[in-house]
Structures are given as C-alpha cells and as structure tokens.
Symmetry: C2
Subunit: 377 residues, 2 copies
C-alpha cells in the first residue's frame, strides 16, 4: 500500500533536500503536540515559550510523545531565547495564548527576517497585530502571516512532554496575508497537515474562530458552577444546554453580521464544528457539542480567571465588538458578555483586550477599514 | 409571663370587637403561609388565586398548617371570585407573583371600595401600578397601597395546605402610599407581624427588594447548571460564589445609584439581608448567602423559565433600567442581565416586563418623576 503524501514527506518539502526548520512558540497543549508531531515527521523543530518554567522539564526529556488519536514521538530543541528560536526558521508557529502574542513578538523580533512564514493557530487577528507590534518596536521584516481557524489538535497535556490527543480536526481553514503567498504556505504545511486548506482572507479566518463563539458564553452561564465545583465537571457535555445554545447562537448571529458588514461570508459555528469534528448523528449545535467524542474529557476550567475569558473575551469578543461599532453595527450580546465577564473577574476586560490600534485600524473610516481587512471596497 | 402584644390581639384591632377581615390573593408559598398564620391568630381570612387548580385542594382541606419556624394552623375561606374575596375586607394582601398583578387587579376591581388597604408582599411597584391598572378599567377606589420589602416568611409549600417555614424575617420595612395612612396600616398589621415597620416612601421600599438584587444574577451565572442538573442543587449555598458576589454587587451599585438619583437612600442588599436574617458570624454578602440557615433547603429552580427571571427581571430589573434611563443614568449591568436572560429564554424580557406607562410615569420629566415617586422636588 502506498503511503499517503504527508507520510512520505518526512520534513522535506518535496523536491528539496534540507529538512524544514520550524520554530514553535508556546509549549502548552497545542504547541507541544505540533512540535512533537512535526519532529516525528522529520522536521527540525525548535520549541520556546515566554515562561521558562514550561521549558525546563521539556529540556530534560528526550522527546515529546503524542498518544490517543495520534501516536508519535519527536525530538525537539528547546530554546530559551525566542529570537534565537526563530532565526533562520522556514516557518514560525505561534501556538501560545493570544495574551502572550505581543510579548512574544517583542522577544522574537531580533531573529526575524523577510519572507519567513508565521502561522498562528488559532489566529486571533495576528496577521493584523504582529506587523503593528513589530513596527512599534522598529522592526519591519516582511513576514508572511497566516492564521488558522483553530488548533489542529483537540488535546491536553497533563504532564510536560506527554500530550493526550483526543482528536485531529478533519479539515482546517488557513488565511494567508498576503494572499499571493497562500500557495507557498500551504505547500509547506500540507505535507504534515493535509487537512489545512486555503480559506481566503486572514481576517475572515480570524473571525471564524470557534473559541470566541463558544468559550465565553458557556463559561459565563456556568460561572457559579465552575467556582462551586472547581471545574470538576465536563465542559461541553454538561455545561451546554438548550438555553446556553440559544445564547451561543445569539452571539454567533452578531459575529456573522460583522462579517457581512465587512463583505465576508463567515461560517456559522455549527458548520465550523461540523467541518472539524466527526459526531455521528449530531444534526444541531447542541448535540454536536454534547456528544462530540473529542470533548468527552474536556473538563471545565478550575477557575474563572482562565483563557476562556482572558483570551477569548479580551482577544476575540472585545475586538469584534469594537469592529462592529466601527462598522455601525450594534453588538449587544458581545457587549453584555464582555461587561458581565468583567464584573465576575473584577476587572475591565474591555480595556484589557485587543484595541483597534493594536490592529492598525483605529484611524480608518468604514470603507477604508473594509478595504484594509478584506481587499474589497 | 405576660403574652406579647401580638399574641393577645387574636385578630382584633385593639379597641375593636370585630375580627379583622383579610383577603389573601395568591395561594402559593407566601400566600398560604400568611393566610394560615393570620387565621390562626383569629382573623377572618379569605384566600383566592388566579389559578383555580391551586384552590381546589385547599377547599377540601380544613385548615392551612405551618410547620418549622412557626407552628400554627388556621382555617381559611377559599374563594373562587377575587372580587367577592376582597369585598368588605379590611386588608387585601397581594401575595401572588408580580406577573399576575394586572390580571388579579382586573378580577378583584369590582369588589374594591375606598379606604381598603392593599399590602403587596413584596411590593414590585404595586403602589404605582395598581391605581394605573384600576383607572384603565374605569375603577377609581381610593386604596391605601402598601408595599413590603419582602415576604415575611422564607418558606416553601410542597403540598397544598402545608407550608414549611424556614424562617420568619426579623424585621421588614413597609412603605405606605399615601404616607399619612402609614400609622393606620401598621396598627392594623403589627398585632400579627410586629416585625413590620414604617420605611417611608413606598417607592423606596419597592426598590429595596432583595429578589431583584439576587435572583436574576445568581440564576444567570448558573443557567447551564440549572438545566444540566434540573435544579438539583442548593441555590444560595452552592450557586453563590465570590465571582457571582462581585456581579451581584455591581448590579446593586446600579440600584443604589438609581435611588440616589431619585433622592432616596436605598439599603444595600447586604444590609437588607442582615436585617431580615440571623446568620451568626456572617460579615459579608457571600457568607450571609451561603450560610443563612433559612436558605439551606432552597433548591435551585428546575428550569430557567422561572419567576427568578420572569418576575424579577421583568418586574424588577426592567422597570429599574427604564427608570435609570429616565433619570439619565447608565445601567449597563441591568441591561446586560436583561439582554442575556432574554437570550436564554428565547424571548424579549424587556418587552414582556413592566413599562413606565404601567406605573403612570411615561410622560413625566425628570423633576416631575422624582416628585411623583418620592414627594421631593
């Protein structure tokens, strides 16, 4: 039997001899999983993180091991210095939570060079923010910025170097900026992740993020339960109910309206999940979430001060609400969730979140904004 | 040992011979408890309800029995017709949920006469709404409208005619409109409820309602849990957590600001609860709610479509948000809770709720509004 294409590749772009050099930024669940897999396929993988205490135990290990839906083991080079980590890399994978993007960009900036590919997974508007962050620091490398709709793996790492992979998403959209580079990026990554496909505008892909669409609302409507039981229950299976679904759909309608106002046809959260997962017999959002086999081990967070709020409200709902306002749309559900999540945490997540100026969009008018985001007028 | 004053009274206003005739409207937890107690103290008690199926089993019983914090048994007359029920009554106690007020007023209107006392417990702005409802139907009896801060009992009736009383509130404010009648109302009710004291403006008392201050927020932040477990957990003990308290306090700040804007010094929810309950060692809102012995058996509602939303959002937060707007105040927490609770239930609770026109306030300017509500300029 012939091996599938990505099994043959083993880290070499077809036609090239040299293994691909990949810098993975972020040694959490997703970063470890991607680093381990890419290394197992023959890439030269370097791994770094903003937090040295994530790196120390990995440095002592020989390899990162994936188990569950993927069985693989790959040896990675652990780097303390993000600039050194990215220097000379063909591709930089940003797999850290969005609140760390700005600091990580500052740390890696000295190592960047023109033409390097930065793939953020998921994107969190990084194709807009990273160039702004770099420019503010006086760096102007011409990066190719790609955003993925989500993380390719649904996984959790309970101990350093070991990742339990519950599922590998079936299909995953990528948006590349500039779009003329999309083919090159896809050719580079598809040998290892043939599920990744060109989804067009990076801004569309940034908006088609199921994390913002799901995490904040589900957490908000179960906030008491999270604290009362310290998250000792199954997040999607138990925390998602018919009423919570109505709220999720109300929120999703505002996201889709924002896309429409910008001339983009976004994908409803139901369809994104259908694309990612395999849930036999699930024909609506509720059953898709409750019965997704990949979600059966995902516990609720142990506390509310967790990335479902600090990342997905601050770097998802906050910029979406600001963009909605800029495009003349009311977004009362987004506003309400931001407001109440802020109240729960005792700090203003609106102010802590991504600003239009972080995306270089603060001074644009409506038409200019749309053109900048989507290339349309 | 001399009996306390209210034990001597046995249904007679001191100096009068005739027992007090009391019509209790609402045969739920609170209505049954008050009817049973007042009858046990010698009042002539009539009981009615909008829903005949609440009345049928009571009609077959000889008496209503209170157990727990109060041991009493009283025989009441069950009436099908609210107009007949209130005819000739010295005092009418409105103990039905606020969404039933308008229909109940329409049903009792033909039986009302000048000078009758209507005590709503809790008030839900009834001293404003009842005259408006009556006038719209062509009735103009000069009622004395009194509002209580809360229900005197913390109780639940699991079967008709039997009420488990967890606690009798230690002290309870009453607001009477017109205020010149406050003394007469208190003299009438204090023989049976010496805890009731004159709190001044009925509008102040309507705003000092712990139900709005607690129920909607606690339910909202535990909505998923309510549906997932069908309410099979203890509402205040488990559903109230440090973060939920922050949200409750954020909401309460808006309520207090509304009071201030109207020239009223409202009571913070913490102080209201301190006044009502006895919770040894509880010195902040969280412990007061979690450890209140009276709350240890109060389960979460089995569904979200429950009076904690349908009464306390619609007849509490909705009019408070409208009044805030009218007085030039932003009330983003109220607005957010109304919005998200509506989304959860799949219908607009803002539109279903009490309007300024229901309170006769829609056409007033700011100063006129304040004067109408509080007698101040």
């Amino acid at each position: 039997m012939k091996k599938p294409c990505h099994m043959q590749a083993r880290g070499r772009i077809q036609g090239l001899r040299k293994p691909l050099i990949i810098a993975v930024l972020g040694a959490g669940n997703g970063g470890q999983a991607m680093a381990g897999w890419l290394a197992s396929r023959g890439c030269e993988v370097r791994l770094t993180d903003l937090f040295p205490n994530y790196l120390a135990p990995l440095r002592r290990l020989k390899a990162i091991e994936l188990s569950g839906a993927v069985q693989a083991e790959g040896r990675v080079t652990v780097c303390r210095d993000p600039a050194g980590c990215v220097r000379g890399a063909d591709m930089i994978i940003l797999a850290t939570a969005a609140p760390g993007h700005k600091r990580l960009v500052a740390r890696m900036a000295p190592g960047l060079t023109d033409g390097q590919v930065l793939l953020a997974t998921p994107g969190y508007f990084s194709s807009l923010t990273v160039p702004v962050y770099l420019k503010a620091l006086g760096y102007k490398p011409r990066l190719v910025c790609a955003e993925a709709e989500s993380l390719i793996y649904t996984c959790r790492s309970a101990e350093p170097g070991k990742v339990a992979v519950y599922f590998v998403k079936k299909k995953m959209g990528i948006g590349v900026q500039p779009q003329s580079e999309a083919r090159r990026v896809l050719e580079m990554i598809r040998p290892f992740y043939p599920q990744m496909v060109d989804e067009g505008h990076s801004f569309k892909v940034a908006l088609d993020n199921v994390n913002y669409a799901l995490h904040p609302a589900i957490l908000l409507f179960n906030a008491g339960w999270v604290e009362a039981a310290r998250g000792n229950w199954i997040f999607y299976k138990e925390g998602v109910t018919p009423s919570v679904i109505r709220a999720v759909e109300g929120l999703d309608a505002e996201r889709l309206a924002l896309g429409s106002a910008a001339g983009l046809r976004l994908t409803p959260v139901y369809k994104l999940l259908k694309k990612f997962y395999r849930v036999p017999g699930a024909n609506h959002l509720l059953s898709l979430l409750q019965r997704n086999p990949a979600y059966q081990n995902i516990q609720a967070p142990p506390v509310l001060d967790y990335r479902y709020f600090t990342e997905d409200v601050c770097y998802g709902l906050v910029p979406m609400a600001a963009l909605s306002r800029k495009l003349g749309l009311a977004a009362p559900v987004m506003d309400s969730i931001i407001r109440l999540a802020s109240l729960l945490l005792g700090r203003d997540l609106g102010r802590a979140g991504l600003r239009l100026s972080d995306m270089g969009l603060e001074s644009l008018g409506r038409k200019e904004l749309i053109r900048t985001l989507t290339g349309q007028a």
